[in-house]
């Protein structure tokens, strides 16, 4: 993943292709209309295939060819993955698809169309917008609105807090363990995996908050990308709360065209599985990402198949009285899948997985023997744990109440004290070491 100025030409190429394709699609009918759409999709997917997937596919091809005694029959491309490529490509694709479907008029103004693809707050890591939501906003005029600007800035500060105070602090601990899993206790593997779940959430949702906040300051409304995902009661629900702009993209442009749930049951399960495999591949050109996506697909399929069975037995065993149980199980499943997302390669993921049980026993042993949690975790992990609890408390209330309204209705002294505390916490506890946003690489 890299920012190389010359790579702006790639963006320019897809912008020109999609701009022209949009107009031609609108002006054509029948097969010609479809042809222009296909051409636009090929151009977009082609760029992705070259820059993101070529070396991965070649790697696998070379591996297969080794069996026939051939060493690297196709040369590797010495290219870098342009920053945010998957995001703006998907946003561009949604434009031509929506024009084709007749839900969006083709944009005649080249500057406005370019702005739609390159709108800076969400250019590199989303939310992946739809033309119906964003394009028309570029023609509107926004006056300075005190409440709107303040609310945008508040959201940006909250996003910054999540990124530099929580995500980057957790990253130090996670990286230490995942860079050398064999050199750490098994319980540390579990702790690092849990921390990674929150690291990636704060990293990505922190970016989304900043993007949405920055756009709001200027008057633009971007779609919500996260809604307290770790409060989900099933993996299916998790995907309605996590990276919403991507999951709805896949729903609208892949899952439904495949037939969605209006097909025979085996095909319905296959559709789900395909969507999650593609989603895994979208995240990265590596088998670990594919496995991560496949796991989510399997979780959802298994969840759907066993719904009646689980409901029946949880009632019989009174498990339905334990209200947090579904949330906990969902978190464990999602956390398990994160191992593949974080591990640099398959052997590392396998090592972590095969040591989870002994790690769990270590944690239980420490709890039974009443070892003080502070002493056991050490100051850094203890502080990180405190931040996670704080975050999830906020998310819990955010999920249930209008926390923004509650906050703005408080007296000025309270609000300003909060601003100072948050600003000073960012300055004191923030980690500023040029750590990139994880999702920039996608």
């Amino acid at each position: 993943m890299a920012f190389v100025p010359i790579y702006i030409l790639i963006l320019g190429f897809t912008i020109v292709i999609d701009y022209i394709a949009g107009i031609y699609i609108e002006n054509s009918e029948g097969k010609r209309r479809k042809l222009f759409l296909v051409m636009s999709l090929i151009a977009n997917i082609g760029v992705l295939a070259i820059f993101k997937y070529f070396n991965f596919l070649n790697d696998n091809f070379s591996f297969l060819m080794k069996g026939f005694g051939l060493q690297d029959p196709i040369p590797y491309l010495s290219i870098l993955l342009p920053v945010g490529l998957s995001f703006h490509t998907f946003q561009a694709m949604s434009y031509t698809i929506e024009v084709y479907r007749g839900n969006q008029k083709a944009e005649r103004h080249f500057g406005i169309y370019s702005l739609y693809v390159m709108f800076y707050p969400q250019l590199v890591a989303g939310p992946i917008e739809r033309p119906q939501n964003l394009l028309h906003q570029f023609r509107e005029k926004f006056d300075f609105d005190y409440d709107r600007v303040s609310s945008g800035l508040r959201l940006m500060i909250w996003g910054l807090f999540k990124k530099v105070v929580i995500a980057d602090r957790l990253a130090i601990l996670v990286d230490t363990v995942y860079n050398n899993p064999q050199g750490h206790k098994d319980s540390s593997l579990i702790i690092a995996t849990v921390f990674f779940a929150f690291q990636i959430f704060c990293d990505f949702s922190g970016y989304s908050d900043m993007a949405i906040g920055a756009a709001r300051v200027m008057g633009f409304k971007l779609m919500t990308n996260f809604r307290s995902p770790y409060q989900s009661k099933s993996v299916q629900e998790f995907w309605t709360r996590w990276h919403i702009s991507l999951s709805t993209w896949f729903k609208d442009y892949l899952y439904i065209p495949l037939g969605g749930n209006r097909v025979a049951i085996p095909r319905y399960y296959l559709n789900i599985f395909i969507v999650f495999l593609v989603s895994g591949l979208w995240h990265g050109a590596s088998w670990t990402f594919v496995i991560w996506g496949a796991l989510h697909g399997i979780f959802i399929i298994c969840g759907t198949i066993t719904t009646n069975f689980r409901n029946k037995w949880s009632k019989k065993l009174y498990l339905d009285k334990i209200t947090f149980l579904p949330t906990l199980i969902t978190f464990i499943l999602v956390g398990f899948a994160w191992i593949f997302f974080r591990a640099d390669n398959f052997p590392i993921a396998l090592y972590v997985i095969t040591h989870l049980w002994s790690g769990f026993k270590e944690i239980v042993f420490n709890l039974i023997n009443n070892l003080p949690i502070f002493e056991y975790l050490g100051i850094s992990k203890f502080f990180a744990l405190g931040l996670i609890i704080f975050l999830e408390t906020i998310n819990y209330y955010k999920d249930k109440y209008d926390i923004a309204y509650w906050f703005t209705s408080k007296p000025m002294a309270f609000r300003w004290t909060t601003y100072f505390v948050v600003a000073l916490t960012i300055m004191v506890c923030g980690v500023f070491d040029n750590r990139q946003f994880i999702y920039f690489q996608f």
Partner: protein, 322 residues
């Protein structure tokens, strides 16, 4: 004009905008005041007995103490975690003074700290991490300010500009509240250095599978570093000391990634500092990744021996001639 009055954002919401600007200014002013008063009053926690950077005290002690037959090595931590000075002493019969500590201190600091102590007959070898040659390399102000705190005489080796002073103050302010990450790892510890200035703490420990500090060597502008090296060379000549440049050990995987840039850099340096002898080529020090410990510049025990052997081979003729 009428358009401006009725439609302009500025005029139509002037009161709101004014309120917003005043509040923002007040907020930022109070925040800055709190920050500056805290940064002036807070003292950073440090432990000169164990802090890694406090090894500078021992290195300077040796630099002062030894007065003849000296081989002074200048560079970052590639020297600390990458050479066996004892072997060099045994094979070349010279007094090694390994000044390597941390690349983040920057070239200016490294050269300035040795400059006043150059003596007749010294052999000085620059073993600089590749990024140290590049103009866009920014010294780590936090590291420098911490080093200056641990070893006050080093205050003259690097002078902060206003922006760096602000960043250094901010770093001090931040570090007051958090533990030193550099202290967490027992390897990065003053007590792990030997008398020559090599760190032995990592020997025998398992290294990282994924090396840290991977870099992409970009923009090949070297004017600043060339100027510093030339000034240093003049000083060496005046004091009848010999200055040499050696390339540093680098992992094969990273070399492949940066091959063109490294080759171009080598060529550029030969053109611009033609009066200084380069005792080897970058490709002479490209080692397998498994010979590295934790970063792309830190060797493990095996790698350290291999590099030392090559270094002695490259240096031998210059020492004998001398």
């Amino acid at each position: 004009m009428e358009f401006l009055i009725t439609d302009s954002l500025f005029i139509s919401n002037f009161k709101d905008l004014k309120k917003f600007i005043i509040k923002s200014v007040v907020f930022l002013a109070v925040l800055s005041l709190v920050f500056f008063s805290l940064s002036l009053t807070l003292k950073r926690k440090y432990n000169p007995k164990t802090d890694y950077l406090a090894a500078i005290i021992d290195k300077h002690h040796r630099l002062n103490k030894i007065d003849s037959n000296r081989l002074i090595l200048i560079g970052g931590s590639n020297l600390t975690f990458g050479l066996n000075s004892q072997t060099i002493v045994d094979k070349l019969n010279v007094n090694v003074i390994n000044m390597g500590l941390h690349a983040g201190l920057g070239l200016e600091f490294m050269l300035n700290e040795v400059k006043p102590f150059i003596r007749k007959g010294d052999i000085i070898v620059l073993c600089l991490e590749y990024t140290l040659y590049l103009d866009d390399f920014k010294p780590d102000v936090d590291l420098i300010s911490f080093t200056q705190h641990l070893y006050p005489p080093s205050k003259v080796y690097y002078h902060f500009n206003i922006e760096e002073k602000f960043l250094a103050n901010y770093a001090k302010f931040k570090k007051h509240f958090e533990e030193q990450t550099i202290k967490i790892d027992p390897v990065f510890n003053r007590e792990k250095f030997d008398k020559y200035g090599d760190n032995l703490g990592h020997l025998g420990l398992p290294g990282l599978k994924e090396l840290r500090d991977k870099e992409r060597i970009g923009k090949l502008e070297v004017d600043k570093s060339v100027k510093l090296i030339k000034q240093f060379e003049t000083e060496c000549k005046q004091k009848d000391a010999k200055l040499l440049i050696s390339y540093v050990s680098y992992p094969k995987s990273q070399y492949q990634r940066n091959k063109k840039a490294i080759d171009d850099l080598n060529q550029l340096l030969h053109q611009k500092i033609s009066s200084v002898t380069f005792i080897n080529k970058p490709e002479d020090y490209i080692f397998n990744d498994d010979l590295f410990y934790d970063t792309v510049y830190h060797l493990n025990g095996k790698g350290r021996e291999k590099r030392t052997e090559r270094f002695i081979r490259d240096l031998k003729s210059f020492v004998v001639k001398n």
